[in-house]
């Protein structure tokens, strides 16, 4: 049923327009996320990849309005979720949406649960905040939720503390909390990075299953290209706070356009190929304070860099239908008059 509906052109569930998030370093604000725009359609899994420090997590915190107060702020741009602008909301208003319609799973299952409260308490907290529910019902519901994320003996686990659980179990609890109110959008920030591969496989399977059952959209932030290939419909590649390429997963892996994407794909050791040397990218991501003001931010590490790469900032534009690239190798990325 839902597949049929998705054939129609649907309004995006989340639309981020020209988002700029800045951090205060010694009195000056530096853009950690710079002019980022993208859309997430209903029931879509969008992957965000890039090296550490490229702004993936800051972007997701900006959407959730969870930036550290006084240090980070959304400078400009719009975040439209389900027709409402999130960035202008007060704390009280956003609290009604956070955890209910949009929720988040963090990387560290060890630190994102409160060690002094039971699993049940932390699950019921979300339920009490967003729904009218009695204590008894909440307890039953939390047991059902734990069961739905594949935890055996949920009746016992509900009264246990986070330290009594393994990493994989804690991540399952985090997922249970995140989906407690059946959100429309789930932001998963490196949900499996801290886990072993066999447990990672379990968690990814679970996320996919929940996504299908609940008709959720997911933004999956990861640095693991394997996870992206396995899970996502669409992929956003970020570099130094900017989107450099955005396309569907198949095109990204078989026809990458941006030199950064190509190098990133080549740097992963492949299981079924024998290669003597891996492609590597020389240098490192420039730090926030050293970001080049004009030109392509990848230019100093790019093997295909041309002189103009250092002087002209490329724009993210369609090279093919639904395949956006920001690189001066492509005519479409060259700035046109009147467009900045």
């Amino acid at each position: 049923m839902s597949k049929k509906k998705s054939l129609l052109k649907e309004a995006p569930l989340l639309e981020v327009k020209n988002l700029e998030t800045a951090f205060d370093i010694d009195g000056t604000y530096y853009n950690a996320v710079d002019n980022v725009s993208f859309k997430v359609k209903p029931r879509q899994i969008v992957g965000v990849v890039g090296e550490s420090g490229c702004g993936k997590s800051v972007m997701s915190l900006s959407i959730m309005q969870l930036l550290p107060k006084g240090i980070g702020k959304v400078k400009s741009g719009e975040i439209i979720f389900d027709g409402i602008s999130l960035e202008k909301m007060t704390e009280g208003q956003i609290n009604k949406i956070r955890g209910k319609d949009v929720s988040m799973i963090f990387q560290e299952p060890m630190t994102s649960l409160n060690p002094v409260f039971t699993i049940g308490y932390q699950l019921q907290e979300v339920l009490f905040n967003h729904t009218k529910i009695s204590k008894r019902e909440a307890r039953l519901k939390s047991i059902a939720l734990l069961k739905s994320v594949g935890i055996s003996r949920p009746e016992k686990i509900v009264d246990e503390y986070p330290h009594q659980l393994s990493g994989g179990m804690r991540q399952r609890v985090m997922i249970a909390i995140a989906i407690a109110c059946q959100p429309k959008l789930l932001i998963a920030d490196e949900p499996t990075t801290a886990l072993d591969v066999t447990v990672q496989a379990q968690i990814l399977e679970l996320l996919k299953e929940i996504q299908e059952v609940n008709d959720m959209s997911v933004i999956l932030i990861t640095h693991d290209l394997g996870v992206v290939a396995e899970m996502c419909d669409e992929v956003i590649v970020m570099y130094a706070g900017k989107i450099v390429e955005r396309t569907d997963v198949d095109t990204l892996f078989y026809n990458p356009k941006h030199p950064y994407t190509t190098l990133l794909l080549g740097a992963v050791p492949k299981m079924d190929e024998e290669e003597e040397r891996l492609s590597s990218i020389k240098g490192i991501v420039p730090s926030l304070t050293n970001m080049p003001k004009v030109g392509c931010r990848f230019a100093n590490r790019c093997p295909k860099a041309m002189p103009e790469c250092f002087t002209t900032t490329p724009m993210l534009a369609d090279v093919d239908q639904g395949h956006e690239v920001a690189c001066l190798l492509y005519e479409t990325s060259k700035p046109r008059e009147g467009v900045k």
Binding site: E51, D196, T198, V199, G226, M271, I281, I284
Partner: protein, 336 residues
């Protein structure tokens, strides 16, 4: 079929046809203290009876999930930990119980590259001093010679000469790992134990460090024990691979036969669990249930049997031993 050519390949790595390192029935237990008088109430059997050998110039990879004892094994071989039982033979010498002067002598030949490049370098020391320290410790060299040698090492690992006067915090993760590698190389060891050297790094930087390690291995004729949890990284680096589970060696084989034909159900599950960076490849996935059990109370019989999809009755009763079922392919499983 393919095993024949593999056999030849492994022989290529044995110019002197002898093993640099031999581990026999190695056990390392950590005591668990409890009760009022802090008696030993049990043991964490971190490494429980493993045996393997590393040939000269070869890279042996050790893989396994967290808590499987791979790091403990590496540290025990370096004698940073005292083995509970078993034998460690390095370069023909029994180093299981040596101490003091003899141990110091041996350490010159085995060095370690640690996992966390942020924690394994002294923040108060200049990088030049960090790298010079092992040389200073073991040889009598003039200041100029020492500095020249450090500069040489910096160049070898791809760091600029001015790194000498900088401090560790001024470098990125990948560069710090290069400093760690330079320090490990300083005494021109015969063997380097690399414990998850790239797990804290991004893929693009990870590939730089992996390429560097391979280059250095050729240049200095190094033998590696490469410990990692990432199977694709281990496969890229190693000639032979040992798969550990709960302190035991589940399978030990040439990398090609291990990946082409994994025998142990755990290895099969482990390989199938790796997300492949290819969206068109849809593979049959074996999803294991549950987590790795606690090594304080390992399951009876085969340690993997509670999670094993092919477990038989025998598996919970007797512990399988590692035996050669094909040429250079050893497995510990009752199925074979």
């Amino acid at each position: 079929m393919s095993t024949i050519s593999l056999h030849n390949k492994s022989e290529k790595h044995t110019p002197r046809s002898e093993n640099l390192l031999e581990i026999r029935n190695l056990k390392t237990y950590y005591p668990v203290k409890g009760g009022f008088f802090k008696h030993t109430v049990g043991h964490v059997k971190a490494v429980d009876n493993i045996s393997f050998e590393i040939k000269r110039g070869e890279t042996l990879g050790l893989v396994g999930e967290s808590g499987c004892g791979k790091s403990t094994a590496g540290r025990t071989i370096l004698r940073l930990l005292k083995p509970t039982d078993g034998k460690i033979l390095f370069d023909g010498k029994d180093i299981t119980n040596i101490s003091g002067k003899h141990l110091r002598e041996i350490r010159k030949d085995m060095q370690m590259v640690f996992q966390d490049p942020y924690a394994s370098l002294n923040p108060m020391q200049m990088v030049g001093d960090i790298i010079a320290e092992p040389i200073y410790n073991y040889t009598k060299k003039s200041k100029e010679d020492l500095k020249k040698e450090v500069m040489d090492l910096l160049e070898k690992v791809g760091l600029p000469p001015d790194a000498y006067y900088k401090y560790a915090h001024e470098f990125s993760g990948g560069q710090r790992q290069r400093i760690g590698i330079a320090r490990a190389l300083a005494l021109r060891p015969k063997m380097i134990i690399a414990d998850e050297p790239v797990s804290a790094l991004d893929v693009s930087v990870q590939s730089q460090v992996l390429n560097l390690l391979k280059d250095l291995q050729k240049e200095f004729d190094l033998t590696f024990l490469f410990i990692a949890h990432d199977l694709s990284v281990v496969k890229h680096m190693s000639d032979r691979i040992g798969v550990m589970y709960l302190g035991n060696m589940a399978e030990l084989a040439d990398k090609k036969s291990l990946y082409a034909e994994p025998l142990h159900p755990y290895t099969k599950a482990l390989i199938s669990a790796i997300p492949s960076p290819d969206p068109r490849q849809k593979k049959e996935r074996i999803i294991l249930t549950g987590d790795v059990p606690s090594p304080i109370n390992p399951p009876s019989g085969c340690p993997f049997h509670p999670r094993c999809p092919m477990a038989m009755e025998e598996c919970s009763k007797t512990k399988p031993v590692l035996k050669e079922v094909r040429p250079s392919h050893r497995v510990a499983c009752h199925l074979y």
